[in-house]
Chain length 235, copies 2
């Protein structure tokens, strides 16, 4: 098995899951175990970011870093003609702790991604400087929200806009007519998350999601986790 | 006179200032004149951004774009070993409408810049993930505030930190220990400005500052403004 391939919790029989998680935790220092669980409790899927065909890797990596800092667990990446690449110096390893959903370029990848988000209960908010767009602080935090961001030059595709439930924009007071993409993401995420954490909305992951993610993070925190897991399962 | 060199309002005799501004305005379409004045009324110097020795031009340019979008008129740039360059594709021409204060690298440029800001009545807020830092939404908007940002890798210099009145940090909920610089600026500026605009704080420019800036913007909106000005002054 490749060193980089991780087991998923569903690969493990329900009877063995708790024991295996405890066993893996023994390979970490107590502070590290505590830190993993602390961050886990701050994770949210109440909002998510969908990037449509970005081509500046600096921007993508800055987006991942901001999402990780704010506890936004999921990022959806719809590839276009630009293949997706992470710029490690800028993402500062943030992608390791996120769940990245990649949609390689096909004629239906955009529609597919957005439809799947709708099935997961997300409202789709297209970021768009339109007349009737909501402002940042008008977006309802009570609903699970997926914010769609388009390319640096062309903005969102018409397909993506057509599928959105509504649009949202950042207030602008100057001559410049748009923000840098990663800066827009930072502004939107910071306002949404700060409001969320002060609210009574149940934004945390479910207990099952936490178990799944902890299992993943534990494996990413130790060397050759698959050998340790296989050893445990043999016992 | 070089085409790019602009007259300043103080070069013009007080008697001629209003007439000359009207005269320059005649060279612009009515909508453009209206737009200039509309944006002018949204400009603020209640906060400013100080960049210490950034070396990623993409970051600097994204910062300028965000400041312009939010109506933050002044940006201070303290050069270090990295010469300051604007990345035009990213700043989207934002720097044209801002007042950039450049401090070329010398052994005293940092201290000099910060002391001048204090003389102008600014409180100095060092952005720093320290234990006792204020959080973004605790920064008092009633005081003129200069936010200091350090280099991408090393953060702020000890000299700059020592001169600050207090420090400020963005709340972080993940493993990553810092934001991309331009994203931090975007988050801080957006929270400060949004609060400011909803408050009763007198954040607008003074009438004299507005006149000065309008005179500059008019010149930047027409071709060969110096010829037009010289022609007017001869009359």
């Amino acid at each position: 098995m490749d060193n980089n391939i991780l087991y998923q919790l569903r690969d493990i029989s329900p009877k063995q899951q708790a024991g295996l998680t405890d066993y893996l935790s023994e390979f970490l220092l107590p502070e590290r175990n505590e830190r993993l669980r602390e961050v886990l409790n701050l994770r949210t899927r109440q909002l998510t970011i969908v990037l449509e065909d970005l081509f500046q890797t600096q921007n993508i990596s800055a987006v991942l870093r901001t999402c990780e800092c704010y506890g936004v667990q999921d990022v959806y990446i719809i590839e276009g003609q630009n293949e997706f690449r992470i710029h490690d110096a800028i993402s500062m390893g943030a992608s390791k702790w996120l769940t990245l959903h990649n949609y390689p370029y096909t004629s239906s990848s955009k529609v597919g991604c957005i439809k799947q988000l709708k099935q997961k209960g997300y409202k789709i908010a297209a970021t768009l400087p339109a007349e009737n767009s909501y402002f940042t602080d008008q977006v309802p935090i009570e609903e699970k929200t997926a914010f769609l961001f388009g390319t640096e030059l062309l903005g969102l595709s018409e397909e993506a806009i057509a599928l959105a439930d509504y649009s949202v924009k950042i207030p602008m007071y100057g001559f410049t007519e748009s923000f840098n993409i990663s800066n827009s993401v930072a502004i939107l995420v910071s306002h949404f998350v700060e409001k969320l954490r002060k609210s009574s909305v149940n934004w945390a992951l479910t207990e099952f999601e936490k178990k799944e993610l902890l299992f993943e993070w534990l494996q990413k925190s130790i060397k050759k986790p698959h050998l340790i897991i296989e050893n445990y399962l043999k016992k």
